[in-house]
């Protein structure tokens, strides 16, 4: 039996594993003199940790980082000898994140594509979302799981890192049991359609957390509403479990599901429902991705409208979209100045014993004041790098 994992793309490696009497490693690289020793060390480390199984491993390197090499080798060996288990794993230190932290951007990265995964942590996304679902072909799921687990263990993400799993009954359980070891801050549930589905995921998470010795409840959930049924039941979804901290909307699947064209009008109902459901449950709402990479102005427009509707952030398919998202979903200097003026006026009114007060000719009532305070606090949180 032979297994091939990885590819000959840049930043990846192709690993071929075959059953044999005893473990051995062969390395091919364009820079043999410089790199062979290092690659061999990684390979032997992985085989050691797997209990030196009887497998011949051939590595063809294209500039893969250590964790990519290790993931490819581990996945190949486990595909040849499915009973093989890691005899030791690294403890991943990653603290649970603040449920209310800013999530202006959620950056998708395909879980089996090292070229796009390497450096995914450096673009300043509030949430990085490692995808095991739509971007990973069915035959690559195992390889992607191992790669995502190793990446989570290797990279100290400065902000939040999430994993989008497959539907629970279509590989999602296997996803969880593999990648939770890497301690992602949260798990995205695609095509969420019922409170029941969310609770099922929460229960599964609890089991794995207990097995791994993590605090039960430490992993957040982000349900993604992207079907007609999901839109109609999104309040159940948002309220289903304490773990839900943000509800995301996915327009691509939704428009397909209902047979709509992707226009603002067609999406308005779904978007509004998602926002209302999230806010009723006291959690954040995140808008769908914007697919036209070449149209920065179009993205900025869509961000502005999403923010007007009440969304707190939006998906990104490429790091270059992040600065635009962050600008759109952060309070502007103008808004902040107004908010400060309102709070100041209210304070003055209170000390002088006045009831109502006006700023720029507009009445400041309790909701307006509350909103201004929230905006200022949010800006402070952002200035603090996301820590409340």
């Amino acid at each position: 039996m032979e297994a091939r994992v990885g590819s000959d793309a840049k930043a990846d490696c192709l690993v071929v594993a075959r059953q044999a009497e005893r473990a051995s490693v062969a390395v091919a690289t364009k820079n043999r003199n410089l790199l062979e020793t290092g690659i061999r060390a990684v390979a032997e480390g992985v085989l050691d940790a797997l209990g030196k199984p009887g497998v011949v491993v051939e590595v063809q390197d294209q500039g893969a980082l250590d964790y990519v090499l290790a993931a490819r080798i581990e996945a190949a060996v486990r595909m040849v000898l499915p009973e093989t288990k890691l005899t030791r794993t690294e403890q991943v230190e990653r603290a649970m994140s603040d449920p209310a932290r800013p999530r202006r951007s959620r950056l998708y990265a395909p879980g089996n594509n090292p070229r796009l995964l390497v450096g995914i942590d450096i673009h300043g996304a509030d949430c990085v979302l490692l995808d095991l679902e739509d971007s990973v072909p069915p035959g690559d799921k195992t390889a992607a799981r191992v790669l995502v687990r190793r990446l989570l263990a290797a990279v100290p993400f400065p902000d939040e890192v999430w994993v989008r799993i497959n539907p629970l009954d279509a590989g999602g359980r296997e996803d969880l049991s593999e990648v939770l070891e890497g301690r992602p801050h949260g798990v995205c549930l695609p095509k969420a359609e019922s409170g029941e589905g969310v609770r099922e995921l929460a229960e599964e998470l609890g089991k794995v957390e207990r097995r791994l010795g993590f605090g039960v409840g430490s992993t957040h959930i982000m349900p993604i509403i992207e079907t007609a049924r999901g839109v109609l039941r999104c309040e159940d979804v948002a309220e289903a479990d304490e773990r839900v901290v943000v509800v995301a909307f996915g327009a691509e699947d939704y428009t397909r599901d209902v047979g709509a064209r992707r226009t603002d009008d067609a999406l308005l109902f779904a978007r509004s429902r998602v926002v209302a459901a999230a806010k009723a449950a006291g959690v954040q709402a995140s808008d769908t991705v914007y697919a036209d990479l070449s149209n920065d102005a179009g993205l900025a427009d869509e961000c502005a409208r999403a923010r007007d509707l009440g969304f707190d952030g939006k998906g990104a398919i490429n790091p270059r979209q992040i600065p635009i998202l962050h600008r759109a979903f952060s309070p502007s200097e103008d808004e902040l100045a107004k908010a400060r003026a309102i709070v100041e006026a209210a304070r003055e009114a209170e000390t002088r014993g006045l009831g109502a007060v006006a700023v720029d000719g507009r009445m400041v009532d309790q909701p307006v004041l509350e909103r201004a305070r929230r905006l200022i606090k949010y800006a402070e949180t952002l200035a603090n790098g996301g820590a409340a």
Binding site: N31, N33, L34, L35, T37, G38, Q62, A64, G119, R320
Partner: protein, 515 residues
């Protein structure tokens, strides 16, 4: 063996010449006079046109052991170097020294000429396959000598490098020897890189595929310098001058670096009316130039000049009125060549004007900011663009030293993580450009400021930019890769790297083993 100011071991002699160790970027004091030029006289009613390269070789009296020179404006599309060397081989010439302004992959046939003894020495520049070949050691009679654009010009003027015959590929020329690179059937951009060769060489041969009626003007190469004109079918393919470096980068990492570079420029204090910068080719530089243009537009800043290699990106900025002039030594695309022909504000300059240490002024000294690449950078900010981390000599210096030394703020843009081979190292394999003239290193994991530029560091910090120690950025990147092995160098010197003033900043030695 002595150690130069950077602690690099330099032999007493390079070939037959005494080696002067590098003493600092601006340490050398130049005195005396430049070398004399050959006396030439033109008979009346002379016909300078010869029927073939062979005829020109014959007429010039080229013989064994002599030196011939070339320019690189056709880059990967050049035909003339191979054409001339093949003719030399056919005529049984041996032991030639070649002195190109640069070599490219297309010049791989030189390897064969070295093996057969036609070529035995190389001065000027070295790229790609020829570099890889001589890195094996024992291939050349004397170590190769690599010089920057300005350094090459200076060495010829100083008489250090004497040229017997300059062969000048000219996309258009008249029968009396006036020649240009920006007109003709196959324009390649300015050929003024060889204006100094044309004046100092014993004989100068213009090789063209487009003979125009006299007078062909304006010209980079003048009739008074030219001995012979040869017409051939093909001198080069202008489609190849771009060398595939004119695509804006798509890499998120490089885009991030380009953006951070421009943020740093904005915060540097140099970003105001009259701002000047050097752009260059390569996906990352082009992206940085584009973002810079966007920011200049937003801030309504009009720059004094942009320095090339000329590209469409710079030309567009000139047309939009964002810069008052382009100063250009070479063209990296056909838009730049067209603009050089049509726009008086697109100014052609030779390396003597833009980069010569022994002169009363360099255009690079008027630069506020420059973005340059690197193969390696070390913790002392020294930069290597010549050798690969495995010790192989693979690239020329180009204008790297000249621009880095000149610009008020020299920024090295490079990813901290580039596959499995670390670009930030404790000590560069070869020093091309000393850390004292490098101000900022911009990576995707933050930017590092040379400790001697506390002013910049403060400005960047105040602007909220991610200022970090170079060592910390290195540690961040190194955690993802096993250490690479390092070459162990023997005694044989493959090549000398000259600083732009003619002192030796480093040598490349033959790799003997691995540690």
């Amino acid at each position: 063996m002595t150690r130069n100011a950077l602690g690099r071991e330099i032999p007493g002699k390079i070939g037959s010449r005494k080696a002067v160790p590098f003493g600092g970027a601006f340490a050398k004091v130049s005195t005396g006079t430049k070398a004399p030029r050959p006396q030439k006289v033109a008979p009346q009613h002379e016909d300078k046109v010869l029927p073939s390269i062979e005829a020109a070789i014959e007429a010039c009296g080229l013989s064994n052991g002599m030196t011939i020179s070339f320019h690189h404006s056709f880059r990967e599309g050049d035909r003339v170097i191979n054409l001339v060397l093949d003719a030399c081989a056919r005529m049984g010439l041996k032991d030639l020294r070649i002195c190109p302004t640069a070599l490219f992959g297309i010049h791989e046939p030189i390897v064969g000429h070295i093996e057969s003894g036609v070529v035995s020495r190389i001065e000027g520049s070295m790229n790609g396959p020829v570099g890889a070949f001589i890195s094996k050691g024992g291939k050349l009679r004397e170590p190769a000598v690599l010089r920057s654009h300005g350094g090459r010009w200076r060495a010829i003027e100083a008489g250090t490098m004497e040229i017997d015959v300059a062969f000048i590929a000219a996309p258009q020329a008249d029968p009396y020897g006036n020649a240009t690179g920006i007109r003709g059937k196959t324009p390649c951009g300015p050929i003024a890189f060889q204006a100094v060769d044309a004046q100092y060489a014993r004989k100068t041969v213009v090789v063209t595929n487009d003979l125009a009626p006299y007078p062909d003007f304006p010209m980079e190469i003048q009739q008074g310098w030219t001995d012979y004109v040869v017409v051939v079918d093909e001198i080069g393919d202008p489609a190849s001058i771009t060398s595939g470096t004119l695509q804006l980068t798509n890499s998120p990492t490089n885009l991030l670096i380009a953006r951070l570079t421009v943020e740093a420029v904005k915060a540097s204090g140099y970003f105001k009316d009259g701002f000047s910068f050097q752009g260059g080719a390569g996906g990352l530089s082009l992206a940085a130039t584009k973002f810079l243009g966007d920011e200049m537009e937003k801030a309504k800043i009009v720059g004094s000049f942009g320095m090339g290699g000329g590209t469409k990106m710079l030309v567009d900025m000139l047309r939009r009125g964002q810069i008052r002039a382009i100063l250009d030594g070479q063209a990296f695309d056909l838009d730049a060549i067209a603009s050089l022909r049509e726009d008086p504000a697109h100014v052609m300059m030779d390396p003597g004007m833009y980069a010569n240490y022994d002169s009363r002024g360099c255009s690079t000294y008027k630069l506020d900011a420059a973005f340059l690449g690197a193969t390696e950078v070390d913790l002392d900010f020294n930069v290597n663009v010549n050798t690969h981390s495995d010790g192989q000599l693979l690239h020329g210096i180009g204008g790297h030293q000249d621009v880095a030394a000149g610009a008020a703020m020299t920024m090295i843009t490079l990813p901290a993580l580039r596959g499995r081979i670390p670009p930030i190292v404790d000590r560069v394999t070869t020093v091309t450009t000393p850390g004292e003239v490098i101000d900022v290193v911009v990576t995707e994991r933050g930017l590092a400021v040379n400790p001697c530029r506390g002013d910049l560091r403060e400005r960047f910090r105040a602007a909220g930019l991610p200022v970090r120690e170079l060592g910390d950025i290195k540690r961040d990147a190194d955690r993802y890769i096993q250490p690479v092995r390092r070459p162990v160098f023997g005694d044989e010197v493959i090549a000398a790297i000259e600083w732009r003033d003619g002192t030796v900043i480093d040598v490349v030695r033959k790799v003997e083993g691995w540690q």
